[in-house]
């Protein structure tokens, strides 16, 4: 703020100064400053986010080769100095024909969908309870939801190993009260994968639900009650439709990362709980087949692109709605 008393200068110099200032201002406001602000994140994202995806796409059309890096190049100097373009669709055909991959994709989608519904069933009452709690309590209850999210994800998954394993706490408890005769197989099962995903992603469901429920106008419910509407009907016709943005946002925040989840099926899942994130990991680290891993990644992107675009549209609508 250089609007203080003018320094003792000659009139000509100060007008020159002002003109210079205005020049700089228009420059920074108009093009240069704006370009500088945009350029850095833009360049970073192009180089380290978009370019990598394009490279994955490129390598998914290559063939595995005994070379470093272990795949065939796309452009090659063939005989007679002509540039040969090698596009190899075999990896995708392989994904489509081998029942392992198709099964892993379908299983990932199923696991993610069921976990999302379970998160919704547990998370909705919790978000509702927090939103209707006394104002002073809300922040404490919210903090308690966020706290596990800030602790290590890996360690929260690990906690379930100790609880679920054959000689773990849950089996020990059930045996000692005589409910079962021999330990249940809880760890390395589909059940453990569902449990792990619901446990890890529950905060992502609760937070957006809470955000929509706490903003709701409660006089609407009073009006419904005054007009003789029973509470359950008021919930179904007023509260639930109004909280739909939260339901959708929360469901996507659980569903999309759950589809590509690796740590949970790897640590808690068994041989039959094959998920696509784990398949990609194995192709890359164990089989060292980079082209197939790249094709798995591109196919996974295609699978989540639909909910992604939906998410984008909802996001755009919300921001334009907020701006009013």
């Amino acid at each position: 703020m250089n609007a203080g008393p003018a320094p003792p200068e000659t009139a000509g110099a100060s007008s020159l100064r002002r003109r210079f200032d205005r020049g700089v201002k228009s420059l920074t406001q108009g093009r240069l400053g704006r370009a500088a602000v945009i350029a850095l994140p833009y360049a970073w994202l192009l180089l380290f986010l978009l370019l990598p995806i394009l490279i994955v796409l490129k390598i998914s059309f290559a063939e595995i080769a005994l070379a470093s890096p272990p795949y065939t190049p796309m452009l090659q100097w063939a005989e007679e100095r002509t540039l040969a373009l090698q596009v190899h669709l075999g990896n995708y055909a392989y994904l489509w024909q081998d029942p392992l991959y198709l099964g892993a994709y379908l299983n990932s989608l199923k696991v993610a969908a069921v976990s999302t519904i379970l998160c919704l069933l547990i998370g909705y009452p919790m978000a509702y309870g927090i939103a209707r709690a006394p104002a002073g309590w809300r922040i404490v209850l919210l903090m308690l939801v966020i706290l596990p999210f800030w602790t290590s994800f890996l360690i929260r998954v690990y906690a379930w190993i100790g609880l679920l394993q054959g000689n773990g706490l849950i089996n020990h408890l059930l045996l000692s009260i005589g409910l079962i005769d021999q330990p249940l197989v809880l760890l390395h099962s589909n059940f453990a994968v569902y449990l792990g995903i619901v446990y890890s992603y529950l905060p992502f469901m609760i937070l957006p639900l809470y955000a929509t429920l706490v903003r709701m106008d409660l006089t609407l419910l009073e009006a419904a009650a005054d007009l003789g509407c029973p509470p359950w009907k008021a919930f179904l016709t007023v509260t639930l439709p109004l909280s739909m943005p939260g339901v959708i946002a929360g469901s996507l925040l659980v569903f999309i990362p759950a589809v590509g989840e690796f740590v949970i099926p790897d640590l808690l899942g068994g041989p039959d709980s094959l998920m696509i994130g784990k398949v990609l990991w194995t192709e890359f680290f164990s089989n060292r087949d980079w082209p197939v891993a790249a094709a798995v990644a591109i196919a996974m992107l295609a699978v989540i692109l639909i909910p992604l675009l939906l998410f984008q549209r909802i996001g755009e609508r919300e921001t334009t709605g907020d701006r009013r």
Binding site: D21, V37, P41, M143, Y158, G162, E222, W290, M300, I304
Partner: protein, 270 residues
């Protein structure tokens, strides 16, 4: 409405919170167990903590993770803030949709894809221009900045869109240049969001296993990578001790943050 809270809501909350916290509490309790077995209580002991502090592998991995996380958080705050400024202030420029899409993409991209694509890009770059030479701390940091800056951008963006534009206009009218408006007016107002973004970036980077496993090279083993390889072999009391320390640090941080937030809202209400 707050007066008559049905009983079932209380039950739902009690069930939900015990679901969230019982596993963590058992971890903490068994970190003080003298026995190596989960089911046998061998008496109170702090021997696993002593072993943890003597474990060179874990300590050096922790130090590497802390350095990567601090660097990541700092760079992510800078990039995320610039991205948020671009999205909130410059609503019309060509390829804005592409930019907005790229900013939001890491939020919803599976980690395995981010990791794989990062690695393939580093390999290609090294082949083409010789940079980065090999993989390690630098490549992990770059990959972490790319995905954490998206989270920072979301936090800063929501703060920026609440900002009163008339403050900036007043400063501009009084002759402040845009960069001065940014440093004197915008930056102090959004500083809580920057702190929150830094802490989130630090935590996400400290916590990441999948991306780091892809883009890391020999000699650069982060803390989650060490924890993962020991957890794969089964329950390890040292990991319980480590988990307890993490929970204590995070809980202290969250309580302090909550207290500051509480004080701030009370001051604003007054």
């Amino acid at each position: 409405m707050t007066g008559r809270r049905p009983f079932w809501l209380f039950t739902a909350l009690a069930f939900g919170y015990s679901f969230l916290y019982l596993p963590i509490i058992t971890l903490i309790v068994y970190s003080f167990n003298d026995s190596r077995l989960v089911t046998v209580w061998g008496g109170f002991s702090t021997r696993w903590y002593a072993e943890l502090f003597r474990n060179e592998q874990i300590l050096s991995a922790l130090w590497l993770s802390v350095r990567i996380a601090a660097m990541t958080a700092t760079l992510a705050v800078i990039l995320g803030t610039l991205a948020a400024l671009t999205l909130v202030r410059f609503t019309h420029f060509r390829t804005r949709m592409l930019f907005a899409g790229m900013v939001a993409a890491p939020l919803v991209m599976p980690e395995v894809i981010l990791g794989l694509s990062g690695l393939l890009m580093f390999v290609t770059l090294e082949q083409a221009i010789g940079w980065p030479p090999g993989r390690g701390m630098t490549t992990i940091t770059i990959a972490h900045v790319t995905f954490t800056s998206a989270f920072v951008a979301v936090i800063v963006q929501s703060r920026l869109s609440q900002l009163d534009v008339s403050l900036e206009e007043a400063a501009m009218d009084l002759g402040a240049r845009p960069w001065k408006v940014f440093f004197v007016i915008i930056l102090p107002i959004i500083s809580p969001a920057l702190i929150a973004g830094w802490l989130l970036g630090f935590t996400l980077s400290m916590d990441d296993l999948v991306i780091a496993s892809f883009v890391s090279g020999p000699g650069a083993t982060t803390l989650p990578m060490v924890v993962y390889s020991s957890v794969r072999l089964g329950v390890s009391p040292q990991v319980n001790a480590l988990a307890t320390l993490i929970v204590v640090v995070v809980a202290t941080g969250v309580i302090i943050a909550g207290w500051l937030l509480h004080r701030q809202t009370r001051r604003r209400d007054r």
